[in-house]
């Protein structure tokens, strides 16, 4: 029995060695992610799909090392160190802390780092300049910065009575804190006021959302991971207050009155495109940070009906999809 076990182990070792030899010619790409999360998982899938579409097949000419820090920042660093020891040819860092850990570990090396789902790469210290890449050394990437000003303008266009906008957010999330500050900055010129409600954990989101009832004319949530995890409680509060709820993430349209922005899968495709540029010979210090353009508008007529709200025709004309009677109607399909 013991001998069989030893043989089995030896067999496994030989097999894994074989696998290593077989993929010796392949490009090794390490993808590191801070935590399991639908949006971040979608980014990872987008990166992989962008590469597959260009002919990079796992196990054939590319080896993906997928790692997830499962929320632990010490592990994020260990992952980056492990990638370095594995001799990866390129690192993809998804979300701010993993990208920072990779930047720290690969500092001074030639290994390119492509970040994704980082809202503000300049204050994250990843790059010196988002538009002029010449001083950015081995780092480039895709930003998921949303246009907060345009979202507020959409809210304003919903109804002339909308003046006070309630925002539920986690001040501990770099991306979200930045976007909330942006909203405050953009609200003045539009004649709007921002009313903030703070939730430091997903468990506190319902209370924060409830605190806005009666104090605001509309609710707005940006790409805040904490709030998104408890998004239905924000919708419940908006129904109670009978005010529209705009979510800056179309994947959550079923839990909002309307949603803007872009899906994170496309953010992954965008970052994947940068990876391809680098694999085709471009240097990271030649590639400026990529921003996602053309945000879409998605409407949820079911949720709007429940608060007795009717969308103005101008907004309906611009919508790329409408959720009505539990069915999603895409403009692209009908045209």
């Amino acid at each position: 029995m013991k001998r069989i076990a030893v043989l089995l182990v030896l067999g496994l070792i030989v097999l894994s060695l074989g696998a290593v030899v077989a993929s010796a010619e392949a490009v090794k790409i390490g993808i590191t992610q801070i935590v399991e999360h639908p949006a971040l998982d979608a980014v990872r899938q987008g990166v992989i799909d962008a590469l597959s579409a260009a002919g990079y097949v796992q196990g054939d000419n590319v080896t993906f090392l997928l790692a997830n820090a499962q929320g632990d920042m010490g592990t994020a660093l260990a992952i980056a160190q492990n990638f370095k020891a594995e001799g990866v040819d390129l690192v993809v860092g998804i979300a701010t802390p993993t990208a920072q850990a990779a930047a720290q570990v690969f500092e001074g090396t030639e290994t390119p780092i492509v970040f994704a789902a980082v809202t503000d790469p300049v204050s994250a210290g990843l790059v010196e300049d988002a538009t002029d890449p010449s001083g950015n050394a081995n780092i480039t990437g895709a930003s998921d910065l949303i246009d907060v000003g345009s979202d507020l303008a959409i809210l304003k266009a919903l109804s002339p009575s909308i003046k006070r906008i309630g925002m539920v957010y986690n001040p501990g999330e770099a991306n979200s804190a930045f976007l909330t500050d942006e909203a405050v900055r953009a609200s003045g010129p539009l004649g709007l006021t921002i009313v903030k409600a703070v939730a430091d954990t997903s468990a506190n989101v319902p209370m924060a959302a409830q605190s806005l009832v009666g104090r605001v004319d509309a609710i707005y949530v940006t790409t805040d991971n904490t709030v998104v995890s408890a998004i239905d409680s924000v919708l419940a509060a908006s129904k109670e207050a009978k005010v529209p709820f705009l979510m800056a993430d179309p994947t959550s349209i079923a839990s909002a009155t309307l949603a803007t922005g872009f899906d994170y899968y496309k953010q992954g495709l965008l970052a994947g495109g940068l990876v391809l540029d680098i694999l085709n010979g471009a240097r990271p210090d030649e590639i400026p940070v990529a921003f996602q353009h053309d945000p879409e508008i998605h409407l949820n007529l079911d949720a709007a009906g429940q608060i007795g709200f009717t969308f103005p025709q101008a907004i309906i004309d611009k919508a790329s999809s409408i959720l009505f009677g539990g069915i999603t109607w895409n403009r692209a399909d009908s045209e």
């Binding site: 790692a67 997830n68 920042m73 920072q100 204050s123 210290g125 990843l126």
Partner: protein, 298 residues
């Protein structure tokens, strides 16, 4: 492989400082202190904010340590002066620190990627040591802290602190103010945790308000793993065991990362594999000891 082990040891030692802090409260004082999840970040927040302002890294470390001492003192006073139970006092401090840490940093994440940190200074000054420069520096710092603690626990105050946790009634009869001792122990503990956070931030290249989550869990893991491998009542061995426990935990994470997928695990299995490795590290020595006893009995 060697390089990756060096990194695991570096991390094990850095987080080992926080584990020593947890050891002081949990083992010495028998006070389950949850403040550490907050004070770890406080250390990182203060150090990074000061470093970005151009303050000397050593000074920044000192201020971070003092901030941790202050945090621990608050928990101690909540418990001893206001009569709030130990667990709740720690939880309250931890929650308060979340807001305070955000205030200190002014934003949730401070990047040190373009800042002159103590780690970077060591790397440049001792560049002739190559990959061992940082390890050597960290090992020296941790050794100094460990020996300092060992000596401290032999002093009169140190002994009184230990007695406070062991037998409060007895040491009160000896004329020691156990309330003061508890506050002092919590202050010392959180000072170390904050120092650990300040060093980890410089080692990682950033401070993030979420980086303290789980400090108490990994700290306790280190204390208990080490304690079951090296059983001893002597402080010298107890502090050694805490560092060994912290090293084992970080090496397990690294091994899980490096070899997990070779044997078919997914990225999402990381915490499971890490824990399984820790179980193996705990069970194997115990199993060997039993085997040896049986062999001797024959």
């Amino acid at each position: 492989m060697v390089q990756i082990l060096i990194h695991a040891v570096e991390q094990g030692l850095l987080y080992g400082i926080a584990a020593l802090g947890v050891f002081i409260t949990y083992r010495i004082l028998s006070f389950p202190d949850l403040t550490v999840d907050g004070s770890f970040v406080t250390g990182a927040a203060i150090a990074s904010s000061l470093l970005v302002m151009g303050v000397n890294p050593l000074l920044a470390l000192g201020v971070a340590l003092l901030a941790g001492v202050l945090a621990g003192t608050v928990t101690g006073l909540l418990n001893t002066r206001l009569g709030i139970t130990d667990l709740l006092a720690g939880v309250l401090s931890m929650i308060m620190l979340y807001s305070i840490n955000l205030r200190i940093m002014g934003r949730p994440n401070i990047s040190l990627l373009r800042t002159d940190t103590i780690i970077r200074q060591v790397e440049h000054t001792f560049s002739f040591l190559g990959g061992f420069a940082i390890l050597g520096f960290i090992a020296l710092v941790v050794l100094a802290i460990k020996v300092g603690l060992d000596l401290f626990f032999k002093t009169e105050i140190g002994l009184a602190l230990r007695a406070t946790g062991d037998n409060e009634a007895m040491i009160t009869a000896q004329g020691v103010n156990t309330k003061t001792m508890k506050v002092a122990g919590l202050a010392l503990s959180n000072g170390l945790v904050a120092l650990s956070g300040a060093l980890v931030a410089q080692y990682s290249g950033f401070a993030d308000v979420g980086m303290g989550v789980g400090t108490i869990v990994t700290g306790l893991a280190a204390v208990i793993i080490g304690g079951s491998l090296l059983r001893s009542r002597r402080v010298v061995w107890m502090t050694t065991s805490v560092l060994v426990g912290s090293l084992i935990y970080r090496v397990a994470v690294m091994l899980a990362l490096r070899y997990g997928y070779v044997i078919g695990f997914q990225a999402s299995d990381l915490k499971l594999v890490t824990s399984l490795l820790v179980i193996v590290a705990l069970v194997v020595p115990a199993f060997r000891a039993r085997l040896e006893r049986r062999v001797r009995a024959c």
